[in-house]
Symmetry: C2
DNA sequence: TGCTTATATACGCCTATCCGAATGGACGAG
DNA sequence: CTCGTCCATTCGGATAGGCGTATATAAGCA
């Protein structure tokens, strides 16, 4: 049973990572880190069609990474947990580390 | 041009997150965090067919999250950067936070 | 009610990913 | 060299994700 639960938590863990596995969603999260924004503001900032933004927001909502509050005619989205940005920054650092290592290798070949 | 570069880095950022977006790969990374392991050891620990392990390792290798060194007849894999585990732990904390919030909501309904 | 703006969803298409089963390739023992 | 072990890759089918277009829902206002 503990086995079963652990598998499920792991599945959720993967799902939440999956939500980060798209460039546009990453951009959305970084945008929201600067403060709450409406769908229109996001679509203008990212230069992406509105349905695309909404679909990505839906996925982020389902993973509880963001939430939206109606504000008159528009809906203002916010980060649900700023730690997501920490995780993204860490992954970016790992990425840079990998690129540096790759560059060293290339250097060695010359 | 700066625009172009930023898009590319973002794509890589997403790719590296994509590598985390699978339960088995998450388990592999946590296993490797305990120390280097061979493919056979991983397949036994995760109770997964060997080709599956190899395919996942390939993806992790391509993202430079792990690397393998031949050790006689087997290949010993290691984490390339322990910070990946930090990021995973952070995401797991975010996940737990979301679940707690979900539980509060459910509580409120009773 | 009727119109406009803002957001969400549905549909169809394409691409990517996952898996299991089978195959291929590298190493060491004898 | 041959065999057995360990690991990697390929193939085919099923599933999921992303996008653009078109459409639906919701709020505000006349």
């Amino acid at each position: 049973m503990e086995e079963r639960l652990e598998r499920e938590v792991n599945q959720l863990h993967a799902s939440i990572c999956q939500a980060l596995a798209d460039p546009k969603r990453i951009l959305i999260l970084y945008e929201l880190h600067e403060g709450p924004k409406t769908v229109t503001e996001l679509k203008d900032a990212l230069r992406v069609p509105q349905p695309t933004v909404s679909r990505h927001l839906k996925m982020l909502r389902e993973q509880r990474l963001v939430y939206g509050e109606r504000d008159g005619v528009s809906i203002r989205y916010s980060l649900a947990d700023a730690r997501v940005i920490d995780a993204l920054d860490t992954m970016r650092a790992v990425l840079i580390g990998g690129l540096a290592q790759q560059a060293e290798l290339a250097e060695g070949l010359s």
